[in-house]
């Protein structure tokens, strides 16, 4: 059985297997599974291998890994009463199986239930999958894969009226179309509104692609390539997103939080045909743009965890200054690769400092993954069957880092007393080859070489400086291509490759020509990050809704299909986006009680979700699951209380004390949390709800319940 055999099997088959393993398979399911197994030899083998894995896990917990091979030293019957820790009895197994187990005990095997669980840190990247609920599709209620359904159920059960969180479903059950009325003001009469005219204009301008390097020209190329794909696949793209949907998405994607209620009101009321372009320009100049991308890249470069010996603040300062100046991306990469000095004075050193442990193996793998979009971790030990990098290439790349030394520098205060220590990157003047061992135990040597170009390996050549040059050279280096892919993924919820950082001949991109074109244009623009974002955000595809119809429901990369970008895929908010959006919606940080530095508070809050590993790629896992309850519960309690309090300065305080009519208040509440106006039905049920809360307890209680309900909806925690 090869990975290819397995990837050809349908996800449903594996879901049936999972149900079988957990005793949850019903008779129709069993029949489906049977059909797979009887008709397809790969499925038959996968079935056997899967149950074998299931059974082995079960068996080995009770009898140890060596259960298959133990050697009895004594005749079994003599052993039957001698062992005090018979695990088999714990599980109610009797008779001769116990005898068999006892034999093994006597033979000196341990039966501790955790025997085969040998936790250590030797953790490889290909196993590092996470629970990020990226497959959640709020509008897929009718055609969701079972996986999606299960994911949906992972959302905390609403403690409040269901109609608030299940809105799309209840709408479709009343016979309205999928992109039916989202709110009273806008989509009820879309033809007359400027909003849609803007989108239409953006989408249809430039029917003939001009490859002139202008924003319009490049947007037109994107539009042409994607539309060609839709045509070939016979897919109708999703309708254009209305203003509220687009506004919320572009805010989250560009500046990392939802728009404030005042911003939304102003934008929705704006009749300017160019308002989307205008807003995008504003966002790119907003200080929150700098903050957002600093967060994104800090997480990529050194992770969220505090456990590594780095100066996070200095790295963030470096990133902030770079994004504020819109420094060319190739320059930033070169800085990270060639950085020298102490971690507080040169923030760029912190990237390598975080990964230079273990012979710079993590630094090698992570540099390739983050900056080149190449996963070469496995080639450290062996040639990879599906990867064009060979073991030799890994170590020639690693060779560039072999002159690098981590030094400790004492820092003293003005009186000359030693105060603290700082880490620093230094270059040792050594030359020569790098040694590595093949799987057959053969010692090999290799020299610094990147993409076929060797450099002088003497002691006086600064290898990292040379690497920085080589990596950022040419009309379309990997650095540019992988950056374009990553940013595209950031905005569309899916890159041209999946995973976004595993590019190469073994994993061809979905739109090779478009990726190639964008990478070249990105280089030609002088690696201008803001321009790249403009091209993407103004493309026709990014104006589309995340909702989908019959014609493009198969455009779902979650199922393994190649993305067509005929709709914008839904993503879960990151922990930082959720935290910041909560503050924007509730004003929890505006009360007199909320003191201290915002970034530091958020970082401390995040630490509860993060666990770092000292692995070959210094992975870390984040247990955060885009669930608002989790976020609120885990959020430090002062802030939680303030979020829904009516203390001076919060959103609720202003809402409750305003003299607006009730319907207007509800509209504002909905706009503040979900960036849209409520549907008539929603308005009605919410009114009842507010009244009940107010009668049962106090006036603010009804409003607090209503806000809590909105914040609990999956519509809030998703970027759609």
């Amino acid at each position: 059985m090869t990975p290819r055999d397995i990837s050809n099997l349908s996800p449903e088959f594996f879901e049936l297997l999972e149900a079988l393993c957990e005793d949850r398979l019903d008779n129709p399911g069993a029949q489906r599974l049977e059909r797979f197994v009887l008709r397809n030899v790969s499925a038959r083998r996968a079935y056997l291998a899967y149950l074998d894995l299931h059974g082995t896990l079960h068996w080995n917990t009770a009898f140890g890994t060596d259960g298959a091979n133990f050697e009895p030293a004594v005749a079994p019957r003599l052993a039957s009463d001698s062992d005090p820790m018979r695990p088999a009895e714990k599980r109610g197994m009797r008779g001769l199986l116990v005898l068999a187990a006892c034999v093994a005990v006597i033979a000196g095997f341990s039966f501790s239930a955790g025997r085969w669980f040998v936790p250590n840190n030797d953790h490889t990247p290909q196993l590092a999958s996470d629970d990020k609920p990226s497959s959640i599709q709020p509008h897929a209620a009718n055609n969701a894969e079972p996986m999606d359904v299960a994911r949906k159920q992972e959302q905390p059960p609403p403690s409040q009226p269901v109609m608030l969180t299940e809105r799309p479903k209840s709408e479709s059950s009343t016979g309205e179309t999928e992109d039916g009325p989202r709110d009273l003001n806008v989509t009820d009469k879309p033809k007359t509104l400027a909003s849609d005219a803007t989108a239409q204009r953006l989408a249809s301008s430039n029917t003939v692609a001009k490859a002139d390097g202008s924003v319009q020209g490049i947007v037109a190329v994107i539009n042409e390539h994607l539309a060609a794909g839709w045509k070939v696949q016979g897919v109708d793209p999703s309708p254009l997103a209305d203003d509220p949907e687009w506004l919320r998405r572009v805010y989250l994607d560009v500046v990392g939080h939802i728009p404030a209620v005042e911003v939304a009101e102003k934008f929705l009321a704006d009749r300017d045909l160019r308002k989307r372009e205008k807003l995008l320009d504003t966002l790119l100049d907003d200080p929150a743009y700098i903050r957002n991308w600093t967060v994104v890249w800090t997480n990529l470069l050194i992770g969220r965890s505090d456990s590594r010996d780095v100066n996070r603040a200095a790295l963030q300062k470096f990133l902030r200054e770079s994004f504020a100046k819109n420094r060319p991306w190739n320059e930033m990469v070169a800085e990270f690769i060639s950085a020298e000095g102490s971690f507080d004075q040169n923030g760029a050193t912190n990237f390598l400092l975080a990964h230079l442990n273990n012979q710079a193996v993590p630094a090698t793998a992570i540099t390739a993954k983050i900056f080149l979009g190449r996963q070469i971790g496995c080639t450290q030990c062996h040639d990879h069957p599906f990867n064009d990098w060979k073991q030799d290439a890994f170590w020639s790349f690693n060779s560039f880092f072999q002159q690098t030394k981590v030094a400790r520098v004492d820092r003293s205060d003005t009186t000359g007393k030693m105060k603290s220590q700082a880490s620093a990157l230094e270059t040792k003047h050594v030359g020569g080859p790098t040694h590595f061992e093949t799987r057959r135990g053969l010692m090999q040597v290799t020299y610094p070489k990147f993409e076929g170009t060797s450099i002088n390996d003497d002691a006086d050549t600064n290898r990292r400086n040379e690497l920085a040059k080589l990596m950022t050279l040419g009309e379309k280096p990997l650095v540019a291509e992988s950056f374009v892919n990553r940013i595209w993924d950031h905005f569309f919820g899916c890159g041209f490759t999946r995973p976004v950082d595993d590019m190469g001949p073994h994993n061809p991109p979905s739109h090779p020509e478009l990726l190639d074109h964008l990478a070249r244009e990105f280089v030609a623009s002088g690696y201008d990050c803001k321009q790249l974002i403009r091209w993407i955000c103004l493309s026709d595809a990014y104006q589309r809704s995340s909702r989908f119809g019959k014609s493009n429901e198969q455009d779902n990369p979650e199922t393994g299909a190649s993305p067509l970008f005929s709709r914008v895929y839904v993503k879960g908010m990151t922990a930082e986006q959720l935290y910041d959006s909560l503050l924007v919606a509730t004003g929890a940080d505006k009360t007199p009680l909320a003191t201290g530095d915002h970034d530091r508070r958020r970082h401390e809050w995040l630490q509860q979700f993060v666990h770092a590993f000292q692995t070959d790629e210094n992975d870390e896992s984040i247990t955060f699951e885009s669930s608002i309850t989790q976020a609120l519960l885990m959020m430090n309690s002062d802030l939680t209380q303030q979020a829904l309090s009516t203390d001076r300065g919060t959103f609720l305080e202003k809402l409750v004390n305003s003299r607006d009519p009730e319907a207007e208040k509800i509209r504002r509440l909905c706009l503040a949390t979900l960036t849209r106006y409520p549907t008539p039905k929603e308005l009605q049920s919410l009114r009842r709800f507010v009244h009940e809360g107010a009668t049962l307890r106090s006036n603010p209680a009804g409003w607090q319940d209503a806000m809590w309900a909105y914040l609990n909806s999956s519509e809030f925690v998703l970027v759609h």
Binding site: M1, P3, I6, E15, E18, L20, C21, E22, D23, R24, L25, E34, V37, L38, R44, R45, L48, A49, L51, D52, L53, G55, L57, W59, N60, T61, A62, F63, T65, G67, A68, F70, P72, P76, P87, R91, M93, R94, G95, L96, L97, A100, V103, A113, G114, F117, P119, H123, T124, Q126, L127, D131, A150, E154, C378, H382, D383, P385, H611, F613
Partner: protein, 190 residues
């Protein structure tokens, strides 16, 4: 030996006092896991498979004198297991019966065919487990602790059952893919 289903087969058991020789014991113990997995492939339930293995063992033990050293122990024991599976399915026929006879015989034949690969996979599994993330390891450990299942684990963790099923399923798939990859990689490099 007071279990009713054991005494049912008492007539075919013969003498339980017969003490098998050391080589037989060794073959017996060595084959236990493989037998268990062979049975599991056909009945799919861990508890049922354990019970059938137990019944099978009683028969194997009682017939130890019939086994000829030098022949395949597994082929011999596998026949006994197949017979026990048949009996179990007969008993279950009244109740819920998941898979057809055709399915069972196809799977049993394939299991024997595939044995070498499955054996290699079992070896590779321990390495893949070692490479799991600590959190994942903990969860899968909890799931396979004696007497546990996904539902009970969910209750203990206070997480929704579906989310735990989801996570356990993901980890199993990760392990499955890891094992497959390791085998493929090993096949290419050697």
């Amino acid at each position: 030996m007071s279990e009713p289903h054991l005494s049912e087969s008492a007539d075919e058991i013969g003498s339980l006092d017969q003490v098998p020789n050391a080589e037989f014991v060794q073959l017996f113990t060595k084959s236990q896991r493989r037998l268990f997995l062979f049975i599991l492939a056909q009945v799919s339930s861990l508890t049922d498979a354990e019970e059938i293995l137990q019944d099978t063992n009683v028969i194997i033990w009682s017939k130890c004198h019939q086994f000829q050293l030098g022949t395949s122990f597994f082929a011999w024991a596998g026949k006994i297991a197949t017979y026990e599976i048949l009996k179990y399915r007969e008993k279950k026929r009244a109740g819920r019966l998941q898979f057809s006879d055709e399915f069972i015989s196809t799977v049993a034949a394939e299991a024997i065919e595939l044995n070498d690969e499955l054996e290699q996979r079992r070896e590779a599994l321990s390495e893949c487990l070692r490479r799991l993330k600590a959190d994942d390891l903990e969860l899968i450990q909890a799931r396979y602790a004696p007497g546990e299942n996904g539902l009970k684990v969910a209750e203990q963790l206070g997480r929704p059952a579906n989310s735990v099923y989801q996570s356990i399923g993901r980890i199993r798939k990760v392990l499955f893919d890891c094992v497959t990859r390791r085998l493929t990689a090993a096949a290419r490099t050697t």
